[in-house]
């Protein structure tokens, strides 16, 4: 493999992972935009989405399905995980955040950290499920293999650079979701209400906008994006575990801050940047330095440009 081919290969990997990180980062940034809360449980909601997908895969026996049926299986997992994560995130807001709407931001943050612990432990518990796809559930904490449902061949044929169908699948899922989200926020009545609540919740209430319902819907949408992302992540990386929410959550949170928290395009740009930085660091530095480099960048951004790449005092929230 030539040098430039290695570079391009890492770039493809970085962009694919970056799109997944971006989808999770959107969930952080939307919730921050509307109630200025870093929803620490978001990464763990994402993790539980992947567990649900694996459970469905095992329960329906998707591995034995003919290959074109497996694509339908992927669609089922995407929709189920999105719905599940959306509802879970909505419930967290309803139960753990909404009663604290008038409390200090710190109380809210502590509540979010608590939710994160609860969800992480739910994942640990879930990992002990006695199913074949969970390796019989003997080692609950062990990483689980996520079967390869998407065929593994090089779309570029004999080329040294590999683009596999999973790379394409990432784009096919993430890009339409991002376009739909931007359309929703910019063009629809609900999106207008979300932006209004983000800018001034009291004024929005005086317009008759049901503020709590709009916040709840924002949590649902953010969670659902995480659910979609979890299935794509599992299909792309083929391993899931109860701690993946922490890892992916940290990456996505870094991406959101890097792009400018509260900014939708910022979350996508931040996600792609983090994905590529990770891939390049894995290749050209060393894997064990990757986290240091990613968080080093975060620290530099926070020192020299605290509002992030695309954030500014005038940024569009939600």
């Amino acid at each position: 493999m030539q040098d430039y081919e290695v570079f391009l290969q890492q770039l493809i990997t970085g962009l694919s992972n970056g799109m997944i990180i971006a989808l999770v980062a959107l969930g952080y940034t939307m919730v921050y935009g509307i109630i200025e809360l870093i929803n620490f449980a978001h990464g763990d909601v994402f993790m539980l989405g992947a567990f649900l997908a694996l459970t469905l895969l095992g329960a329906l026996g998707m591995e034995a399905w003919p290959s074109h049926w497996q694509l339908a299986g992927v669609a089922i997992m995407l929709l189920a995980s999105a719905g599940f994560c959306g509802c879970l995130n909505w419930s967290l807001d309803r139960v753990a955040y909404r009663p604290l709407r008038r409390a200090s931001k710190l109380s809210l943050l502590v509540s979010a950290i608590g939710c994160s612990f609860i969800c992480t432990n739910l994942g640990l518990f879930w990992g002990g499920m006695p199913m074949e796809v969970f390796a019989g559930g003997v080692a609950a904490a062990a990483p689980k293999d996520f079967p390869q449902l998407i065929p593994q061949f090089n779309i570029l044929g004999e080329s040294a650079i590999r683009i596999v169908p999973a790379d394409v699948a990432v784009l096919v899922v993430t890009v339409p979701l991002m376009i739909a989200l931007v359309y929703l926020v910019k063009r629809t009545r609900l999106g207008r209400a979300m932006r209004a609540v983000a800018q001034d919740a009291t004024a929005a209430a005086l317009m008759g906008i049901p503020v709590d319902r709009v916040i709840g819907i924002t949590f649902f949408i953010g969670g659902a994006l995480g659910g979609f992302a979890s299935v794509v992540y599992a299909l792309y990386n083929n391993t899931i575990g109860f701690q993946m929410g922490y890892r992916a959550g940290m990456d996505a949170f870094t991406a959101a801050v890097l792009g400018g928290i509260g900014s939708l395009p910022g979350a996508v740009l931040g996600g792609l940047t983090i994905g590529c930085v990770r891939a390049m660091s894995d290749q050209y530095v060393e894997t064990r330095w990757t986290n240091t480099i990613v968080f080093g960048i975060l620290i530099l951004i926070l020192i020299f440009r605290p509002s992030g790449l695309l954030g500014s005092t005038r940024r569009e929230k939600v």
Binding site: R189, R192, A193, R195, A196, Q199, D200, T202, A203, A204, A205, L206, M207, G208, I209, P210, V211, R314, E316, K317
Partner: protein, 238 residues
């Protein structure tokens, strides 16, 4: 005597342990402009928030068109036609003028009637039409006030409560806004006007109330209030 469109009876309200309203009573009849005047911190804005159910009164009753508002959600109050223009305008600064006006009609589904009301608002404040695509934050203070009023009108209120529409606005625009209020009133809109600018507000109104440390202390005909010695010394600077 006719039944008033808005009746506030002995309302008490507090922020945490701090009691801000200690028995506010007032009434507004259909077609009137009523002024509520008082100094800073007397509880004028809190009165409006308690009427709109943005804060929940501890005791007392708010009746609008004969129905108690207590226990209703904010959006339910607005859907009944009891709407306020908030203090300090609070337009959505990072949204366009058009979007702000659309948000005013958030609860309405009657698209043709909304379009009629938008035309009406544009006639009343032509600047809102000219600057439709501009971000609301780039408007001058007076223009933002016009936008805040226009936005509230888009919800087709029966009674419009305005919180300090003259605050921080160039005198020429204050005149313009007060004449717009008079024009709207002639068109049948009932107005409850909260003002520190007591002379301007009473000059516009048929009746007025004075609120002092959370209680309505004086109420009566606006012209009588303008001549009242206590009010002249305390609020009119004579």
């Amino acid at each position: 005597m006719t039944v008033p469109i808005l009746e506030v009876k002995d309302v008490h309200a507090a922020y945490g342990p701090v009691e801000v309203l200690r028995g506010v009573s007032l009434s507004v009849e259909a077609g009137e402009i009523v002024a509520l005047i008082g100094s800073n911190g007397a509880g004028k804005s809190t009165t409006l928030l308690a009427i709109s159910q943005i804060i929940t009164p501890r005791s007392g009753d708010v009746r609008f068109c004969g129905e108690s508002m207590i226990g209703l959600r904010g959006d339910q109050v607005i859907a009944r036609g009891l709407v306020q223009v908030p203090e300090g305008r609070r337009v959505f600064a990072r949204m366009s003028v058009d979007e702000n006006l659309k948000l005013g009609a958030y609860l309405r589904d009657d698209i043709t009637a909304v379009a009629d009301d938008l035309r009406h608002v544009h006639e009343l404040f032509p600047v809102l039409k000219d600057r439709g695509g501009q971000l609301a934050g780039t408007l001058s203070g007076g223009e933002q006030q016009m936008l805040a009023i226009g936005r509230a009108l888009m919800s087709r209120p029966k009674l419009l409560m305005m919180d300090e529409p003259s605050m921080g606005i160039a005198p020429l625009l204050v005149t313009r806004i007060f004449s717009a209020i008079r024009e709207l009133n002639r068109g049948g809109l009932t107005v409850l006007l909260v003002e520190q600018n007591a002379r301007g507000a009473l000059g516009l109104s048929s009746r007025g109330y004075v609120i002092e440390t959370g209680k309505v202390t004086i109420g009566g005909d606006a012209q009588d209030l303008l001549r009242d010695d206590r009010i002249r010394s305390a609020y009119l600077g004579d």
